[in-house]
């Protein structure tokens, strides 16, 4: 086992990793920007090193500063969390060259899955089902039109280097393919410095279902079932749950088996998540793979009882995974609401000082957060304030429990999306389980949705 882990992250995930390390008896080093000197991850780590000024580029993304901090504190491993440098193959490689273990998959895995085109090729070779689409990068508008015609409309154009929903365009007819290709490619070149595009069939009512993979360094790979992440706005997830109301035990077994087999073929190690698009017929297609711990990992932990972050650290240290697929049992239902510091109607980020704070608790409630009273939500970083997670025997009890917990959550001084969650959880589509990735869009456009949202805003202190 490692002696000292440096956590190259901030906020709730840094705290989550510190907690796991402490339970494993491993010392921790927090790194932080000058703006985060009073952050909880700095307080609860055994040591802390200031690595730069507030902008992420000069602190949490500053590879030389982070490696220097690891060097002067003699850390023997780095946990990158999610976001920031977590999927940066170069960072993983340089860390390993400095004899510091990168807690995550091998650099070549990050590289393979980090580019959407190479990931698609690798997924296909490994036997994962793909949406019909272009073979690799499209050379020009004419090729885009020909491929779109052969697979049928609607299609979606995607940037090879894109992510988080940026660099995508839906095209519904032949006449506009060329123009859409030109615009999307120019946008991608501007946003990511790479204008490469590919296209695939567009599914009208897709559900976002992802499979959690756990792989040790010795070729033993299992899955921990699915997470449903269809409640999203502009491809930013807001509510996640496990199990998915759309996934039957038979479908779970199939998705899990296909995923594990593919990971065995690729030679994957450590934690990973395969994101699929599930259509109305129950067919699923590979979207992308995330080579890190996910924000929404707690819902899987709550239904399987597997501590993913602790497991991740132990696997990186070379421990064999003792759990077999047959040992994995799914118990009840879990839901996570991402509580963001943002306006509940416009979704505009809302940094500022939290003047009053009281967290929900009680049976089946978990709050992963780095917030506290008098904590200032900073404008430099993302707006995730807390992950409110509930677990219950069944889905309807979990929804009731989440509503109860949301009602107890007091966050004063700034705006949060708690009213949005209250309205979303009360919506008939969510309650029935018959929702897809356009749920939020429809909710905000509907009269009942906006009425519920208004009422929730009034009722939130």
């Amino acid at each position: 086992m490692f002696k000292k882990i440096l956590i190259a992250n901030r906020g709730e995930i840094a705290l989550r990793i510190i907690r796991a390390a402490r339970e494993l008896g491993v010392r921790t080093v927090a790194v932080h920007s000058t703006a985060d000197a009073n952050a909880l991850h700095v307080r609860f780590a055994d040591e802390a090193v200031c690595i730069g000024p507030p902008p992420s580029k000069e602190s949490y993304l500053n590879i030389p500063a982070i490696l220097s901090a690891a060097e002067i504190t003699r850390a023997d491993a780095i946990h990158p969390g999610y976001g920031f440098l977590s999927e940066n193959a170069g960072f993983a490689e340089v860390s390993e060259n400095c004899k510091i273990r990168f807690i995550g998959p091998r650099p070549e895995m990050l590289r393979l899955m980090g580019n959407k085109v190479s990931a698609r090729v690798a997924a296909k070779e490994a036997g994962l089902p793909l949406l019909p689409g272009s073979k690799g990068v499209l050379k020009n508008p004419a090729e885009a039109r020909a491929v779109a015609e052969s697979i049928g409309f609607p299609v979606i154009l995607k940037a090879a280097a894109g992510g988080g929903g940026r660099g995508m365009k839906i095209v519904r007819e032949k006449s506009v393919v060329a123009a859409a290709f030109a615009t999307a490619s120019a946008e991608a070149a501007n946003a990511f410095g790479n204008g490469d595009m590919y296209l695939e069939r567009y599914v009208e009512k897709p559900r976002h279902i992802e499979i959690q993979i756990v792989a040790d360094e010795h070729g033993h790979i299992i899955h921990l079932g699915e997470r449903e992440c269809s409640v999203q706005r502009r491809h930013q997830k807001l509510i996640e749950e496990s199990p998915s109301p759309a996934v039957t035990p038979e479908l779970r077994r199939r998705m899990g088996e296909v995923s594990v087999q593919a990971m065995e073929r690729i030679g994957y190690n450590n934690l990973g998540t395969i994101e699929y698009l599930l259509d109305e017929r129950g067919d699923f297609y590979f979207m992308e793979m995330n080579t890190r711990v996910q924000v929404e990992h707690p819902v899987t932990e709550m239904v399987t009882g597997v501590d993913l972050v602790s497991t991740q650290i132990r696997l990186a240290a070379g421990d064999p995974l003792k759990l077999t697929q047959a040992d994995v049992v799914f118990r009840g239902a879990a839901i996570e609401c991402r509580v963001n510091a943002e306006d509940p109607v416009t979704f505009a980020p809302w940094p500022g000082k939290i003047t009053g704070y009281s967290v929900p608790g009680g049976y089946g409630v978990r709050v992963d957060s780095a917030a506290y009273e008098n904590y200032s939500v900073l404008p430099y970083y993302d707006s995730l304030l807390a992950k409110l997670v509930v677990q219950a025997d069944d889905r309807s009890t979990a929804i009731a429990r989440m509503q109860r917990a949301l009602g107890e959550y007091v966050i004063e001084g700034i705006r949060t999306n708690i009213p949005f969650h209250r309205a979303a959880l009360a919506d008939e589509a969510f309650v029935s389980g018959a929702y897809d990735t356009r749920f939020v869009e429809r909710l905000l456009a509907s009269e009942s949705g906006t009425r519920r949202l208004r009422r929730a805003i009034e009722e939130t202190p």
Binding site: E47, G52, P64, A65, L67
Partner: protein, 98 residues
């Protein structure tokens, strides 16, 4: 010895309240007062330094980085010890303009 553990309480104020300009570490690394183990220290307490004069070394990523004084003046305080790990923004010297 590791770097200091940053507690949420603010550090004691006197360091910044005395006269003079604080030279802070531009990055995380190890502080050295000389360019090498057999070399003389770059500045002593009371040394008068010119703008652009090398005053210490910060080792980071196996590289020795010369840190130059951004102001001219007299070194009135040396706030880090030779061989000590330093973090971004940590005070290293106080220089009083003449």
């Amino acid at each position: 010895m590791g770097p200091r553990v940053s507690a949420p309480e603010p550090p004691p104020p006197p360091v910044t309240e005395r006269p003079g300009i604080l030279v802070t570490s531009p990055f995380v690394g190890t502080f050295y007062r000389a360019a090498g183990p057999d070399q003389p220290v770059l500045v002593e307490l009371g040394s008068v330094v010119k703008k652009g004069q090398p005053i210490c070394i910060i080792e980071a990523m196996k590289l020795m980085n010369e840190i130059e004084s951004e102001d001219a003046g007299k070194v009135t305080e040396i706030l880090a010890e030779n061989g000590q790990p330093v973090e971004f923004g940590q005070a290293l010297f106080r220089i009083e303009p003449l």
